[in-house]
């Protein structure tokens, strides 16, 4: 029973008007099983709520699931708020229905990684486990 003494803390949640939470719950559960501490905010969060929560919880990363088509406004808004509030060191990643054309733009804006449909779960786990940021 080998337990890391300092687990990674990651906020997982959904922003905006989007009730599709089967995927995000599976991701949260898989990360839990990989030894990650997940702060799960649930549905219908605003970017402001996500960022204040991330700061209060001192997470290393935020993973947002978006299936509503609002990714082009929600991801940049979260990044902007993180910078404004002095938390630009928090990694933002995401997943959901995001068309090919939007991916380069979001990555250029600062979204570290986007996991789209048919991504194997271990890709997400490996990505998060690779996020060892010193606190």
């Amino acid at each position: 029973m080998a337990i890391a003494t300092t687990p990674i803390r990651v906020l997982i949640g959904k922003v905006g008007l989007d009730g599709h939470d089967r995927g995000v719950k599976l991701v949260a559960r898989a990360l839990r099983d990989a030894g990650v501490e997940i702060i799960y905010t649930g549905l219908h969060q605003t970017p402001e709520q996500i960022v204040t929560t991330a700061i209060q919880e001192d997470v290393q990363a935020i993973g947002l699931s978006i299936h509503s088509g609002a990714h082009n406004s929600l991801f940049p808004r979260v990044l902007q708020l993180l910078k404004e509030q002095g938390a630009g060191d928090v990694t933002l990643f995401g997943g959901g229905i995001i068309p090919d054309d939007d991916v380069p733009r979001l990555k250029a804006a600062g979204v570290e990684m986007l996991f789209r449909p048919a991504t194997p779960m271990h890709d997400i786990v490996d990505f998060v486990k690779g996020l060892r940021v010193e606190r």
Partner: protein, 257 residues
């Protein structure tokens, strides 16, 4: 990834500066220091020594009870009530770490997210990290940090506990045990442990069948029993009043002379 951010909190900053920022109630510093304490970083212990408790001590309320009885929902209501009274509120919400992997899904704050935009409320989820008794390894330390940061009221939510997980009662000024109707007969109410040491016993989900029986059975043995329906806010003003009275009596008992 952009590392050149504004005002990043780093442990390379000197401990004095961090302590000053915590005492000024600066949220990022409060959060980072709690992380250090959770991770048992030596710098965390050094910092804790520099945090003097404020002259006016925080009101510390522990909320414990069996899983699914409504602890997080009750806390959401208590946050709202204390905010209406003009108090700032800190919350430490504990959930279990996996004994197998060390991972955790910390979901208490889902019920409290309407307070996420309120600068007068700080909510921190904590994983037990192998600690038994209902609290996390660093909950006591985190409590000290929140008190130094000046929060008026600090609410501690334990994991969903069993009969003998009573650690929170020794930490909090007021210990509230939450039960739901239908969890046992009158003999359950006289058993030793949780219900014995709690200052206040709350029968939540008090619109369900069996509430009257549960309240009656508990009143045989526990001096302070209240019925609430936390999702509807019923019984919250009565609970706030009971907490205030309990803390007042406690202060009287501890006043010298």
């Amino acid at each position: 990834m952009n590392h050149a951010c504004v005002g990043r909190v780093s442990k390379r900053e000197d401990v004095e500066t961090m302590a000053r920022q915590v005492l000024a109630g600066e949220v990022r510093s409060v959060a980072r220091v709690i992380t250090w304490l959770e991770n048992q970083e030596p710098v965390g212990a050094a910092l804790l020594k520099r945090l003097t408790p404020p002259e006016k001590r925080a009101m510390v309320i522990g909320i414990t009870g069996y899983p699914g009885t409504g602890k997080s929902t009750l806390i959401d209501q208590l946050i709202a009530a204390y905010r209406r009274l003009g108090k700032t509120v800190g919350v430490l919400a504990v959930d279990s770490s996996s004994p197998l992997t060390g991972g955790a899904v910390l979901g208490d704050r889902i019920r409290m997210q309407r307070h996420a935009d309120d600068a007068g409320v700080y909510i921190r989820s904590m994983a037990t990290r192998g600690q038994s008794g209902g609290l996390a390894r660093a909950t006591r330390d985190a409590l000290q940090v929140l008190e130094a940061a000046g929060y008026d009221v600090i609410l501690i939510e334990t994991v969903g506990v069993g009969q003998s997980d009573i650690e929170v009662v020794s930490v909090a000024g007021t210990g509230i045990a939450l039960v739901a109707p239908g969890l046992g007969d009158d003999v359950q109410a006289m058993k030793a442990g949780l219900l014995e040491v709690a200052d206040i016993v709350v029968v939540n989900k008090g619109d369900r069948e069996g509430t009257d029986t549960a309240v009656r059975d508990l009143r045989e043995w526990c001096p302070h029993v209240l019925r609430t329906v936390a999702v509807k806010g019923e019984g919250i003003p009565e609970l706030i009043a009971m907490i205030a009275e309990q803390q007042r009596l406690q202060d009287l008992a501890h006043t010298p002379g």
